[in-house]
């Protein structure tokens, strides 16, 4: 039993070994953070690198003649009659306008007319039609419009499509790209920030350049409102009951096991549940954010309950004793003293739970939210009720877009992931800041 080293400045063998082990342990910790950070960096860089392009979009600036003869034969400006002219009719006008423009600029091209026309997005005709129907006075004159360029042309200006790849590509040609370059030089084609990506609805497979996240963001927003309004209070309330009030018995054990088991239920099973209970039994609307939110609520509850219970458990009993001894009821002790101390853990559960809820696709599959939806859902309507309109969600859009054939969608999928992460960050900031405030040791 020799006393440890006499000098504090010199260390003996054992201390050196302990210090080395300390250093190793610390290095392990740092390495763990490093692994997490590295993984995050790799994932984020790849997402950012692939998705940044989604936030820029190429437009063709056109002056489009709007002949009365083809748009409103009767000349009555009767909306019903005008609506008879379909997008196919408007597409022809656009094509003509572009050809005229090229001719006016005296740009030589070997492209056939229909290949030149293919440089304009199919979406453009619909945009023009809506514009004209909203402004009938334009008929007979000209409309100045920036219309979307087709996906391959757009890709060319973002570097996704090259002359080399175009040579093998059945959907475009090097000539088309060269023409686009000349048009860009002539200031007819321009690439700029893409607000439409955040606001426009989804588009079909033929129009990657027109696809946007508007509907998905609204859908996700509505669902998160439902989740936040239900999962957090219900989860915390359930945890409080189980941890602070429920008598310790077989039943409470059963509930405890049951909740951790719910966490292991594959998310798609919650979809099965949602379809059976909310849609088939309760008759709620399919594809609606309300049902989606309810399903996600049930799915996130276990995460919130498990972390909240762990947090409640770690509050020292002396705090409860102190409050109880002052004549506070259990309820008061919990709400006044225990909950504030457990808040960081509860918020962590919320952060993780919401992240999970926001990023989940599988349960939405069965309740009809993995869908192609073009119309913006409104929060409340008399026919559909609260959050009853069909909508998609951000992860659904990611999932859908990664499955589509046109490579333009891959870029949009990454862009959607960036948006989703920003959405998540915004949603969680409050929780993160709050947690920071409540974190303290006692």
């Amino acid at each position: 039993m020799t006393p440890p080293a006499h000098s504090l400045l010199k260390s003996d063998d054992r201390t050196r070994r302990r210090r080395a082990s300390e250093a190793r342990f610390r290095a392990c910790g740092l390495a763990a953070i490093g692994i997490a950070a590295l993984a995050l960096a790799v994932l984020l860089t790849s997402v950012l690198a692939n998705g940044a392009g989604a936030f820029r979009q190429t437009y063709i600036k056109l002056q489009i003649p709007l002949p009365e003869a083809s748009l409103d034969k009767a000349g009555q400006r009767d909306p019903a009659a005008m609506a008879k002219v379909s997008t196919f009719g408007y597409a022809a006008l656009l094509h003509a306008a572009l050809l005229d423009r090229i001719a006016a600029l005296q740009i030589e091209t070997e492209l056939a007319d229909q290949d030149v026309a293919a440089m304009i997005s199919k979406e453009a005709a619909a945009t023009l039609r809506d514009h004209v129907l909203a402004n009938p006075h334009l008929i007979g004159g000209m409309a100045a419009m920036d219309v979307l360029a087709a996906g391959r042309i757009d890709g060319y200006f973002k570097g996704r499509v090259t002359l080399k790849s175009a040579a093998m590509d059945g959907n475009t040609s090097p000539q088309a790209l060269q023409l686009a370059r000349k048009l860009a030089d002539a200031d007819v084609i321009e690439t700029r920030f893409n607000w439409r990506f955040l606001t426009a609805p989804d588009a079909s497979d033929q129009r990657p350049e027109a696809a946007g996240l508007g509907v998905a963001m609204l859908g996700s927003l509505y669902m998160m409102l439902v989740v936040l309004a239900l999962a957090l209070p219900v989860g915390v309330a359930a945890s409080i009951y189980l941890e602070e009030f429920a008598p310790r018995s077989r039943i409470s054990d059963l509930i405890e096991v049951n909740i951790s088991n719910l966490a292991a239920v594959p998310s798609i099973v919650f979809g099965i549940l949602g379809l059976a209970v909310f849609i088939n039994f309760a008759g709620m609307r399919q594809s609606s954010p309300l049902v989606g939110g309810l399903v996600l609520t049930l799915m996130t509850l276990p995460t919130i309950i498990i972390s909240t219970r762990a947090a409640l458990k770690s509050v020292p009993p002396s705090i409860r004793d102190a409050a109880l001894a002052l004549g506070a009821s259990r309820m008061q002790a919990v709400f006044h003293h225990v909950l504030p101390l457990a808040a960081p853990g509860i918020l962590t559960g919320t952060i993780l739970g919401l992240a999970q809820a926001l990023g989940e696709t599988a349960p939405l599959l069965l309740i009809g939210m993995v869908a192609f939806v073009r119309d913006y859902p409104v929060a409340y309507s008399d026919t559909a009720g609260l959050f009853g309109d069909a909508a998609t969600a951000l992860p659904v859009q990611v999932f859908n877009w990664t499955q589509r054939a046109d490579p333009g969608f891959a870029e949009r999928a990454s862009g959607a992931i960036i948006t989703l992460l920003v959405f998540l960050a915004v949603m969680n900031t409050a929780a993160i800041l709050l947690r920071r405030r409540f974190e303290r040791r006692w």
Partner: protein, 325 residues
């Protein structure tokens, strides 16, 4: 729940892109809301279709195969009695490999010999020894076999098994040999023809074609099975193989020269036709020449237009019910 004002469609993810193209155009040109097109597979779509009548059920089920009798029965049990079947066209199935790799010209027999679990050799079934394409046919490139074929959940798999493996089995004469070995058990022989090796040279893909493409890019020896439209959108990354000397394309498939394709359908719930605004118009718009014809946007996107489109149009207009119900 209150009545819906939008058309609700669910089902096959193969049909989804076509349905979305139509729905988009429909929404743009009609005063009805754009139909909501869900994906989730033919099975899930038909199941929801058959779950009953009413606003909280779907109006149309997309399917990459025809509805089956047991399904019809369940439909009927749930009160879904009037069903209109609509065949919208054909989906071509092509074999493609990395653009920078070797080119291939296949016959069904090549695929059978490459992927069969067991091959009949000298009167006995032995585990498939082929590991390289030129072991099957010296004309094929010297490249190890790595096939990415649709998983067993995909309708494409069924077509692949029947029209490629089984066909190849017959063409190569293996069918006869197997029948000899197993004592002329026709069913067992067919099953043996379509049994795929599990030693890793053939990889089932449960995901979609983008996954197959990604796998080929991660493993340039791979050859994948794709839908025609998917290939046509990615010609800068994939090169397609010929089958029995025919290059796949909408024309060669429509003409029946290219052997591997399958019909795509959707099913309309007749009871909803007069309840859901726009449903009748949408279905008619879908099969109109403008859309589904050989020059329409669907064909442009890779759907093989149905030569009997007119009959289909009539069926939709007359609400011809399936099974004479």
């Amino acid at each position: 729940a209150a009545a819906r004002d939008n058309v609700q469609v669910a089902g096959s993810s193969t049909v989804l892109p076509y349905a979305a193209i139509v729905a988009e155009a429909f929404g743009e040109n009609f005063d009805y809301p754009t139909p909501v097109i869900e994906s989730g597979g033919s099975s899930a779509g038909l199941k929801r279709f058959c779950s009953g009548v009413g606003a909280n059920t779907i109006d149309i089920a997309n399917s990459s195969r025809a509805i089956k009798p047991p399904e019809m029965k369940i439909c009927a049990e749930n009160g879904v009695t009037g069903i209109v079947e609509v065949r919208i066209g054909y989906d071509g199935i092509v074999f493609a490999s990395d653009i920078n790799g070797n080119s291939f010209a296949f016959t069904p027999a090549d695929w059978y010999l490459a992927l069969a679990a067991d091959l009949p050799v000298d009167g006995a079934m032995i585990a498939n020894p082929n590991t390289n394409w030129n072991m099957i046919d010296t004309d094929l490139p010297d490249q190890s076999i790595k096939a990415f074929i649709p998983g067993t959940k995909h309708g494409t798999r069924e077509v692949f098994e029947e029209k490629v493996l089984l066909q190849g089995c017959k063409d190569s004469g293996a069918m006869g040999a197997i029948l000899q070995i197993n004592g002329a058990d026709e069913k067992a022989a067919e099953a043996a023809c379509m049994a795929v090796r599990t030693d890793g040279l053939s990889v089932d893909i449960d995901g979609d074609y983008t996954e197959t493409l990604a796998r080929i890019e991660a493993d340039p020896n791979g050859i994948g099975v794709f839908g025609l439209s998917f290939y046509e959108n990615n010609t800068d990354r994939l090169q397609v193989a010929t089958m029995s000397g025919v290059l796949p394309g909408t024309a060669s498939i429509a003409a029946g020269d290219y052997p591997v394709s399958r019909p795509l359908y959707f099913y309309i719930k007749a009871a909803h036709l007069d309840e859901i605004p726009g449903l009748q118009e949408f279905t008619q718009f879908f099969v109109s020449d403008e859309i589904a014809g050989p020059d329409g946007p669907l064909a442009e996107y890779g759907l093989v237009s149905d030569p009997q489109l007119t009959a289909t149009q009539d069926a939709v207009s007359n609400r011809a019910l399936l099974g004479g119900m």
